[in-house]
């Protein structure tokens, strides 16, 4: 049975269609071709033709021509549109002409690098030229490293390895840096927030070293569809970049369905499990021999879904090898195996985390099921792109969970389909990040007076002098030298949300690391005697060592969970921008946040009874960061007819909701932002809601929130108003237990006031006039 028949079946199944909130059809797009640019080496063209590439698509041709003309390029096209050719063609063309030329490829993960090298090596073999292509990462054996440094024409690596293993040893990479012609950055959209801000600085260091050796490489970037690819590319490489987005790859007709599982408990706002719904649908596909990919948001869910499906095929009397799980950390051979299995039909379903969202080539499938919203429009389209053959019909189903963001998206299909995807954010000049990389840069090559590193020369000098006062650098005449007995790159991680994560060690299992949380979350989740949940196993915390960044836990079985009472104090330090919009004022600036954990409560599962409490003996912690805040008038409670505690509940409810919908506007993770509500903010004494960033100094999210306040509030209003619960639930403002009985209603009123909308009840009361 083919996909078109499945689609007909589903259309006539009213039990299924009843729960759909959208059924959109994306029409087929024919291929648009353009010839090979004339400047290309004929040998290269012949080689590509031997590999079955007779023509370039329009976007490939434009990218290749621009790159050959010396421009920086950013290619933005959907999954499986042949973007690797956009950089491989100009790179190979140059390397075939100049044997000493070099290229550096940067991928966000090791797995991607491995795949890329295999593909490149095959192409090069067909060309019958000698171009050495190697991955250089943590797995590269010591014996091979020297050869790669000398003879690697194309070195494939990741930002972390570039940061700790290549740049600090640039004298060993002389040949590479003297002859570097191209830097390829694939999966550009991945480098947002903290990671991207770090990468921008790693690239500053790279360019600095290149200029020391007299080279000036060109950048070729590839990105999935985001709203601001060119801006992102230009902020990362800090040079003008040409955008190429005229996708010429063909695409079959695609059906995109939004499915909201039925409510099973209206009071608590609980819906039928998205996992079970996904399994049901996937089983349906299996019985009809439709190949599918199922995305789930955690490793655990992947396991659960794969187990269910294996059971199901066994009952059908088929081999359970038809089902494969896929998570991060798979070896290239295993991935090859899955690819081959999908091609020859030995595998019918792949269950995956977002590891497959990145550009690993598993070919195209008939159907895609997403268990829960991935968190952003951009990555949802990425995942959807996994289904869709070039010439036949494909099917994508998004199944919502009860999470607020899922509920917002599933109930607002127009928002999803009508909006361009989110814009990605980086702030390369976050002071902590830029200072960290200045240390690394000084270690690599001493700074000379007048040099600018991201900042202007005067600020650069100011920072360098500051680092000298810390005895990390030493100024001698007009130069700053690294002057500490340490290796700076080692202490700077590009990926952590906060400097220094707390690792969680299971003492019952020889101190095995079971996970990590950022430093600021540790006092909230890992205080002594806390119950910490990891992959549905409960652990109790025996000790939290904030200095060594370690938490010691052991598994236990209890019928309660713990909930910390954290006193959060917020002080505004600076206001960068402010604006009054009707009844409210919005701000963006710098704040100092202080947490003081006080006590924790033990709460019984199911009944939510309070079954005990304990004190948390932890020091308070303070952080300076960027924040966006929304301020209401001091008399708002009287005008809305709310008691102070009701106003407090309303503020909390709205703060929760705003935090949940923030990713709708800003491409960020829910853990990148926290919220706080204050009945009387210090100084102004006005009711205020803060959304602050969890990375010290912030990486640009608050600025985006300030700019997009309207959309943010609109999303909050429609989420709250559209939620079927009566008094608030985890899918909107938070459970009524937490925000109080009038929290939901109050939050809605506040949001409407902030938007300048009339309050329905006030309006009703004022009608006689």
């Amino acid at each position: 049975m083919n996909v078109a028949q499945i689609i007909d079946r589903l259309r006539s199944d009213s039990d299924f269609t009843r729960h759909l909130t959208a059924w959109r059809t994306v029409p087929a797009q024919p291929a648009r071709y353009a010839g090979f640019p004339e400047a290309l080496n004929p040998k290269l063209v012949q080689g590509l033709q031997r590999r079955g590439i007779q023509n370039l698509y329009t976007h490939q041709q434009e990218a290749v021509e621009a790159a050959l003309a010396g421009e920086n390029v950013c290619v933005v096209t959907p999954t499986a549109s042949g973007k690797t050719l956009c950089y491989n063609v100009p790179v190979l063309n140059t390397l075939m002409q100049e044997h000493e030329a070099r290229a550096l490829y940067i991928f966000p993960t090791k797995a991607l690098s491995q795949d890329q090298v295999h593909e490149l090596q095959d192409t090069i073999e067909d060309l019958e030229v000698k171009i050495g292509t190697y991955t250089f990462d943590g797995d590269t054996p010591g014996s091979a490293r020297k050869a790669i440094r000398q003879a690697g024409h194309i070195v494939v690596t990741n930002p972390d390895m570039l940061h700790t293993g290549i740049l600090p040893h640039h004298t060993k990479w002389l040949r590479l840096f003297e002859n570097l012609r191209y830097v390829v950055i694939d999966e550009l959209h991945h480098y947002r927030g903290v990671f991207g801000s770090h990468l921008a600085n790693v690239l500053r260091r790279l360019k600095r070293i290149c200029s020391f050796y007299g080279s000036n490489p060109q950048f070729i970037c590839c990105s999935a569809t985001i709203r601001n690819p060119r801006e992102m590319a230009e902020r990362l490489v800090e040079q003008p970049v040409r955008l190429v987005d005229n996708n010429g790859a063909p695409q079959g007709e695609r059906h995109f369905l939004f499915y909201n599982p039925p409510v099973v408990n209206a009071e608590l706002g609980i819906r039928r499990s998205s996992v079970k719904e996904a399994v049901r649908l996937a089983r349906h596909f299996l019985t009809r021999d439709v190949q599918s990919i199922i995305f789930a948001r955690s490793r655990l869910r992947v396991e659960i879904i794969a187990t269910y499906l294996k059971d199901a095929v066994r009952k059908m009397g088929k081999s359970e090898n038809l089902i494969r799980g896929y998570r991060g950390g798979y070896l290239p051979t295993e991935r090859r195996d899955i690819e081959r299995g999908l091609r020859d039909g030995a595998i019918m379903s792949v269950v995956s985390t977002n590891a497959l969202e990145l550009g690993i080539d598993i070919g195209s499938l008939d159907a895609c099921i997403m268990t829960g919203y991935s968190g952003s429009v951009a990555s949802t389209w990425q995942q959807a792109g996994r289904a869709g053959r070039r010439s036949s019909v494909s099917l994508v189903v998004l199944i919502a969970s009860s999470a607020p963001l899922d509920q917002y998206i599933i109930n607002h299909p127009d928002y999803f389909f009508g909006q361009p995807p989110e814009s990605a954010t980086v702030d390369p000049n976050n002071l902590i990040i830029v200072a960290s990389h200045m240390k690394c840069a000084a270690f690599e090559i001493p700074f000379v007076q007048g040099e600018a590193f991201g900042l202007d020369p005067v600020s650069t000098e100011e920072m360098l002098d500051y680092l000298s006062e810390q005895h990390v650098l030493r100024r001698v005449k007009d130069k700053w030298h690294w002057s500490a007995d340490a290796y700076p790159a080692e202490d700077i991680s590009l990926r952590t949300a906060a400097p220094g994560n707390v690792v969680i060690l299971d003492t019952s299992d020889h101190g095995r690391v079971i996970g990590e949380v950022d430093l600021f979350a540790a006092p909230v989740e890992l205080y002594e005697n806390a119950i910490y949940m990891h992959q549905s196993v409960q652990y109790t915390v025996d000790a939290l060592d904030l200095e060594d960044r370690k938490a010691y836990v052991r598994p236990v079985e209890t019928d309660y969970y713990t909930d910390a009472q954290i006193k959060v104090e917020l002080k505004t330090l600076h206001t960068f921008r402010q604006e009054t919009c009707g009844e409210v004022a919005k701000y963006c600036g710098e704040v100092s946040v202080t947490w003081l954990p006080s006590i924790y409560k033990k709460i019984k599962f199911g009944t939510h009874e309070n079954v005990g409490w304990g004190e948390i003996a932890l020091p308070e912690s303070t952080m300076h960061t960027a924040s966006y805040w929304l301020e209401f008038a001091g008399d708002i409670d009287q005008r809305l007819g709310l008691e102070p505690n009701e106003l407090s509940q309303a503020l909390n409810g709205l703060a929760n909701t705003l935090r949940q919908v923030a990713p709708v506007q800003v491409m960020c993770d829910i853990s990148d932002i926290r919220s706080a509500a204050m009945l009387r903010a210090p100084l102004t004494q006005c009711p205020t809601i803060f959304l602050y960033e969890t990375y010290p100094g912030g990486v640009g999210f608050s600025d985006k929130l300030f700019t997009h306040q309207r959309q943010l509030l609109e999303a909050a209003v429609s989420l709250i108003a559209g939620c079927g619960c009566t008094e608030g639930c985890p899918s909107c403002v938070g459970p009524a237990l937490e925000v109080g009985e009038r929290g939901k209603n109050g939050a809605l009123k506040l949001a409407r006031i902030a938007l300048g909308l009339p309050d329905p009840q006030v309006q009703a009361g004022a009608a006689p006039e």
Binding site: V476, A486, P488
Partner: protein, 422 residues
Amino acid sequence: MSDLRDKLQQLLERQGVMRGAEWRRKTEELAQRRASGEFEIDRIVPGEVVGDASEGFYLARTDFPLDTAHGNITLGEALLALPEHVALSANDTDLRDFTPETAIFLDTETTGLAGGSGTVAFLVGAGYFDGTSFRLEQAFMRDFDDEEPMLRYLDRLFRGRDTVVTYNGKSFDIPLLRARFIQNRMPFRLDSALQYDLLHAARRFWKRRLGDCGLTNIEREVLAVRRHGDVPSAEIPELWLNYLRTRDARALQAVFYHHKMDILSLAALTARLSQSLTLPQGLGFDHMEDRLSLVRLHFLQKHYREVMEHGQRLLEEEAESAIRCECLYLMGMASKRLKQWPQMEDAWTQLLAERPRDLVARLELAKHFEHRARNLLEAERLCAETVELFETRGIPGSDEPLPGLEGFRARLERIQRKLSRG
């Protein structure tokens, strides 16, 4: 009452407790003396500034007469080191033309042991023979801007040196110096010199007996050198960085001493290794382990005749069983390569007498009896014995049958077939 006060005062003084004012006065005085340049390097370590006020570095030069003792050897003895011994101990035939007169003995002290482009060699020492003496030049950076003139000087010093002798220089000092020259946009002359890394040589001879092959340990055990006023290597980076901040070079005296001793030991070790190899039959090595190391080294270099010769001598001595066994193993393999069958049979038989469960000896011997000596009965006996020995006992502590046992079984059957045909 006043007695009590005096007593307390006395007690406090004896414990070295200093009162606030006194402490402050002393700190200020120290700061003043430092600022006046009283503890600058030129007051602490004898030497001279090379260059002028705007650009230069500090150089300590010492000439050691050739008869200067370093432990149980004199420096001049290094001039007698024979090239073939250097090549043998380095396991590197490129060094067969080694001449001590054109070699340079090199060591560096750096700002970090982890390496990387930001690690600086603040003290670079080069020793070389200069007619009547062994000259040691220790070039020192008074601050980061001394590096360029220092490297220019070293560049001239390295001219004409065809071999560089170091301790772990292959993986540490040489790459680090190369990085410094690249950073200062200068060619690195030592790239065209041959390398004699004594760490590798020391490991070949002494690892088995001494374990720790750090220079200080080798120096103490092999050269009987005693250091006085040394400083641990790990503390050295911090001492220089402190000096930059305080301009107080007193702690660096120990660093210069440490560095000097390291380089003198390079020359002394070169001499000692060659002497040990010079004495007939390896008698220069008075420990059985060292002599076994020599046999092993000859084996690695495919000098099979020397293996037999030195091995035979070793067996005549009272050596412990493990040493005898390894020696017999090497001799068995060497005589096989030399096709000296009687000697080979002898070596394997002796090895089996010493260690009956040695499977290699059993296999080699079985092959020998079956195919070369044509002694099928002996071959059958050996195979049957082996099968029985390992079948009943297997690998100690394991239920697994011994790998290779199947081969013996097959061999036994084949021999028995031959015998029955026979």
